[in-house]
């Protein structure tokens, strides 16, 4: 073991630590988004399912982005969508909105207008009356962010 190889190892270690710190900062919000979903599902990982998300591919103004989601469900007493959570990973707060539905809605079909701070994946998680959680996501490119500041 020569002195130079020890220096190399040290440089690698320091560089690696710096990378790890940068990575942690960049991923803080996705972790919060994952936490928001885990709180909604009670820790059950949602499975990819039949949710149609209607969002523009490119949003020129992130301050008002039309959003719609339709979950494939018969909406009967025995089998219906009870809750729909919408999460944006790169917003200051990941939770965007939560819809609460009943069988009387007839269709699990909701729409609103949302704010997106930056280009990101918008994740939709639906809870069914049978206790299942299904999810889908869509990427939106945001030209001008919509969260002020």
């Amino acid at each position: 073991m020569s002195g130079s190889s020890r220096r190399d190892v040290l440089a690698l270690a320091v560089g690696g630590a710096a990378l790890a710190v940068a990575g942690a900062a960049a991923q803080a919000t996705p972790q919060e988004a994952a936490d928001a979903i885990a709180r909604f599902t009670g820790g059950v990982p949602p499975v990819p399912g039949k949710i149609a998300i209607d969002l523009p591919e490119i949003a020129e103004n992130g301050n008002t982005v039309p959003f719609a989601a339709t979950v494939d469900s018969p909406m009967t007493e025995e089998d219906h969508v009870s809750d729909i959570l919408v999460v944006a990973q790169a917003n200051p707060r990941p939770r965007i909105v939560t819809f609460h539905l009943t069988p009387a809605c007839g269709r699990a079909d909701v729409a609103t207008r949302i704010r997106l701070a930056a280009t990101q994946d918008v994740v939709v998680v639906a809870k069914t009356s049978k206790g299942h959680f299904i999810t889908a996501s869509k990427t939106v490119k945001v030209t001008v962010g919509g969260c002020g500041g």
Partner: protein, 107 residues
């Protein structure tokens, strides 16, 4: 702050038909993340909850966050079963509740 609402739904529907209900309320939806000219954070003031009942029974509700765009627009559906009254309520951070009723005739 929520003085102006718009509600669109049919006046009548056939039994079993699924109708579309669209609502809009005038509101700034101040996020609480924005700074004013002096660099101070502008306090949050949003509509944080929307509810809709049919003949007193819960039909649909929404928990809104600052990420909902100004003048919140919400669209949902109802399966027409009997004639009755839909009650729409918007809950402001400042404690104000705005309520509107609409009747629907089901044949």
């Amino acid at each position: 702050m929520a003085e102006n609402v718009r509600i669109k739904l049919p006046e009548s529907a056939k039994k079993g038909e699924v109708i579309e209900i669209r609502t809009l309320v005038s509101h700034i939806m101040e996020t609480g993340f924005r700074k004013d000219e002096a660099g101070k954070l502008v306090p949050r003031e949003i509509i944080n909850k929307f509810t809709c009942t049919f003949n007193g029974a819960p039909l649909f509700s929404v928990d809104l966050e600052p990420a909902i765009a100004p003048n919140p627009y919400i669209k949902f559906n109802m399966r027409a079963t009997t004639s009755g009254t839909l009650r729409f309520s918007w809950f402001d951070d400042n404690g104000t509740v705005t309520t509107e009723d609409r009747k629907i005739v089901v044949t």
